[in-house]
Subunit: 608 residues, 2 copies
């Protein structure tokens, strides 16, 4: 087990409770023993707590009872019974909207479809002060733009609906486990194969993995990660229009990935034999509520190979060895308004952890006069492609920043960039002119570990324990392996980018500090960006042989297309945490192959 | 169906047979009708055909009967009965070895282990002329370096062997299909869900997918790809030493991905219910031989989500919709000596094709005096990390170049780079300072489509049909979506890089030319690199609205680690071909969810 949380540097204790009362944000610390409030600090910086369901309901009520708004809706020819409005966060764009809690309200027609998102009432934006319960401003610029039709927008399945017989159909499949799953969950502790970790539903991060440990060959459980979670999710839309410029969402801090995690749909969101875990959170009034079936845990066998080798006959060995790959997945889905974010933490027996984010749900679309590209004289005025008649899919990005408090064999770790550098051979040294060589640079301070990934200047990125060497003298470590990703290209001084400055690099390393958990700051709604990973890290603190936190931001550029209408096929990307000289050798060499008798005998369900 | 192969520009007919006889390479064209040789051209350029098993056996025989070699082995203290030798290709490094067919021979001890790869006899390299059947040169520099021990190198499973009870174990799992698989194979035509394609085993490419078509909503089968396959595989090792400099393998052209594809191991290489396809190839003497169970085809359900959406309660809709993702995989594994390359073509019902390459098998390792890092005074002299006592895992790269002859709705296509460019807003235009905008540039000639991927200058890459517009007026297309990849950093004028110049860019587009199939050239062994994708493409031909071929190279940098010893856990990377405005809307919206009754009733096997 890991000795943890020695206070090596002064740390601000993060609040137990963030509460908003009478226009003030209270950061409250509570001692659960005696049941006392030990500290109640009123925030003086920018930013407000997560918007609650009550806040959103308030914004809608205020809007619905506003006369000017009602006139606009009437003028659009939309029936009030068909109206659905959403409450996008306002971001921060200067002093005008400071000092009050603001949300925007924008509306849609749900006539003939539950997929109101595809029927925007374009250009109508209501700005609401949710504490004063008043409309501050209504901008109504798009009255000439028709509400797009409902045709082909309803994606819901009901046994009554005549579903397309042209849809691609496959026979049912199921991952079956004749002897049952191999994991067990005790409270929040998950034990599976050689892994054990703690899994906690969280109203903001959605899902927190902590104290992840893996068993080595000698039976010792060794620490890999103290804590890992999605810290912030930045979604800037690429449209400067009045009804669009503010859409630069910080979903974790503004809405909460856990508070928007609806119950998972059994057999579809997660396979059979999944274990479902509830979340228990506080409502706006402090009372608990249950987010049921919020996380699922399941084993995966996808036909993949853990390792294998065959020998070609000329070598004289008749070798055909292969081992199936079985993994464990913890999954949570945040439905932040239109978008669904599928978060997977996948654990492999070889020590690898894959963190995957899948995007589905609905596009945020913009109404337009045009039904066809050929009607548009200047497509350069469009901020995204036409994805249906009168519907533009506005270009946008997604950035998900992960807080990864690695504890490789203990709290004190270092970060090394293992750079692959081209070397030139000397004349006459070799028939080769060039080759690559590794240069290992251990980061001393935070500035050494602010990494922009480069295809033509590649590196591995290791978190290692300088005090624990392998049998061969290599430091034990894990590397972070980026997959497909994207970088933010916005101006560094653009307000959304200042607030989401954690996207200025793909990798950062900070010394552990209890109050530095949220990459976009503790109080994100309308924050000015003075409490972000970038501001903390500007101090350029020492990070060598310390309790360090690795931050990785996974990015997506999304240029929509017709296939994203009216609901998007899942798009995924991932990154990996992978052992590097952590084990003395391949830790799954001893795994058994699958034999015919291991497999179940199955038949169709009797009631089929 | 697609009207194809109109000869729009002069095309050299590729040979039906490449044969090596009496020191000459014959490029023979045959008319199967009358059974006549219509052309027999003797190659005058550099390069030789794929090395055959006979060639390799010859090289070994010549070596084993060489006195000096035998003395060296004796001096190393290796018993002849324990000797296993391999035949790495020699590459091309100038005039010295030109004009004769050369392979290198290097040897290992298989004493106490079938994993001889981990027991190199370091520094001993025999150069053999396989046609003259004579040893040209023996270099023996490493006599002081011990042969690494056999300890912990045997990875084979036998029911007799006492397997580690410390290995991470999971209960058996199986992807079960109570109503059977949904695909059928008729000869080489595979039909599944909305896809139909032709699948051909190939001695060089391993597996060729052709005439891939997908059914649209109106029932029409629409062309996506005329032909796709792994065209070349370049593996340069990063060590300039005499025994290592030449290791710059071109595995498809030197050894053949199909000729090294051993029978797949049922239930482990591929899941239950997989269909296995044999390859029938020609031996060195022209007689057919069967590569049995060389390709498997199976359906995959991995617990993933095709699309989904939940609505948060405040919106007033109780929506929980999710659809499981079932895909079809065609798999082939090439065991090119020590390395195993797992090639997957995965088809999704939403139109996406994922091409994945997994790497497993054994490292190519180098013997060293050292048992521990601390014994090494200057680790800078090492060309890779110590992965076991006396064993260095030499740093290397893998580049797999795919030939993707896209035919989106017909043969004539264009290539567009859809660049995401930062735009600055005008003063007063918007509270936002910046946003991204797409700039679509259609490539006119090959030079416009030589792409180096850039994280900070991102683009989408579309192949589209300029003559077929969607309902909305968008051209129908597919985009290539790179995932994690790597670029070659070797000098452009380094001989291995000249030969593998297809790695100079990640993406290329060429006009279709029948004779331009192999990115490293038709005759690769000892080629000088005058017949590669880079030389063809230097002509800068027109590629707009033509039958075009997209080339993508997937790359891996591999810095070995202890976990790769003695057999490597699979490392994978992939890229995708994805519809973009090809369908009018999400093509899997009508797919049914899974219900309890769809799932099988399973029990453990009776003999369990």
């Amino acid at each position: 087990m890991v000795g943890k949380r020695a206070t090596r540097f002064p740390q601000e204790e993060p609040p137990s409770v963030v509460a908003f009362l009478n226009g003030q944000t209270h950061l409250v610390t509570i001692d659960l023993g005696p049941g006392l409030v030990t500290s109640d600090v009123i925030s003086t910086g920018s930013g407000y707590p997560i918007l609650t369901n009550d806040d959103m309901a308030t914004a809608l009520e205020v809007t619905y009872s506003n006369l000017e708004f009602n006139k606009s809706i009437l003028a659009r020819g939309v029936d009030f019974d068909d109206l659905t409005c959403i409450t996008p966060s306002s971001g921060w764009f200067g002093p005008e909207e400071e000092g009050k809690r603001i949300v925007k309200v924008q509306c849609f027609s749900n006539q003939d479809t539950p997929n109101f998102y595809m029927r925007p009432i374009e250009g109508l934006t209501v700005t609401v002060d949710i504490d004063k319960k008043e409309v501050i401003r209504i901008i109504d610029t798009g009255r000439g733009i028709p509400v797009p039709k409902a045709t082909h927008t309803d994606y819901t399945y009901t046994t009554n609906s005549p579903f397309s017989d042209k849809a691609p159909m496959t026979n049912p499949m199921s991952m079956e486990q004749p002897k049952g799953p191999s994991f067990n969950v005790n409270g929040h502790t998950v034990k599976w194969a050689n892994w054990v970790f703690h899994l906690k539903p969280d109203i903001r991060a959605g899902m927190i993995i902590s104290q992840a440990m893996i068993r080595a060959e000698d039976g010792e459980y060794r620490s890999v990660m103290y804590k890992g979670f999605a810290s912030e999710l930045f979604v800037p839309y690429m449209d400067p229009d009045q009804a669009w410029y503010f859409k630069s969402f910080m979903d974790a801090g503004e809405f909460g990935l856990g508070s928007t995690a609806m119950p998972l749909l059994e057999l579809n969101d997660c396979p059979r034999y999944a274990y479902y875990m509830d979340g228990v959170f506080a409502s706006a009034d402090g009372r608990p509520f249950i987010q049921s079936n919020m996380i699922c845990i399941f084993e995966r066998y996808a036909g993949d190979v853990g390792w294998r080798h065959s020998e070609i006959p000329v070598m004289g060995f008749n070798i055909r060895e292969s081992r199936p790959k079985v993994t464990l997945v913890a999954r949570m889905v945040a439905s932040v308004g239109n978008y669904d974010y599928i978060f997977d933490w996948e654990f492999q027996t070889d020590g690898l952890i894959r963190i995957k984010v899948g995007l589905s749900g609905m596009l945020m679309v913009k109404g337009t006069l045009y039904e066809n590209i050929h009607d548009i004289s200047n497509t350069n005025t469009m901020t995204g492609p036409l994805v249906s008649e009168n519907v533009i899919g506005v270009v946008h990005d997604h950035f998900i920043s992960f807080h990864l408090d690695m504890d490789i064999d203990g709290a004190n770790n270092s970060f090394a960039q293992v750079n692959l550098v081209k070397e030139q051979t000397l004349s006459g040294q070799s028939p080769r002119k060039s080759y690559l060589k590794t240069k290992r640079n251990v980061a001393k301070t935070e500035d050494d570990a602010k990494i922009k990934l480069k295809l033509y200047d590649p590196s591995e990125f290791h978190v290692f324990n300088p005090s624990r060497l392998s049998r061969l003298g290599n430091p034990t470590g894990y590397k972070i392996v980026p997959g497909g990703t994207a970088a933010s290209l916005l101006d560094l001084d653009d307000p959304p980018q200042i607030r989401a400055a954690f996207t200025n690099n793909q990798i950062w390393v900070t010394p552990h500090n209890k109050s530095e958990e949220w990459a976009g700051g503790l109080l994100v709604s309308q924050s000015k960006g003075e409490d972000t990973l970038a501001t903390w890290s500007a101090r350029n603190r020492e990070i060598e042989n310390k309790d360090i936190v690795l931050w990785y931001t996974l990015g997506f550029h999304h240029i929509p297309c017709q296939e994203d209408f009216p609901v998007m096929p899942t798009v995924s990307s991932s990154f990996e945490l992978k052992p590097v000289n952590f084990f003395d050798r391949n830790p799954i060499m001893g795994v058994k192959p699958t034999f015919q008798n291991d497999l179940p005998v199955c038949s169709v369900a009797s009631s089929y």
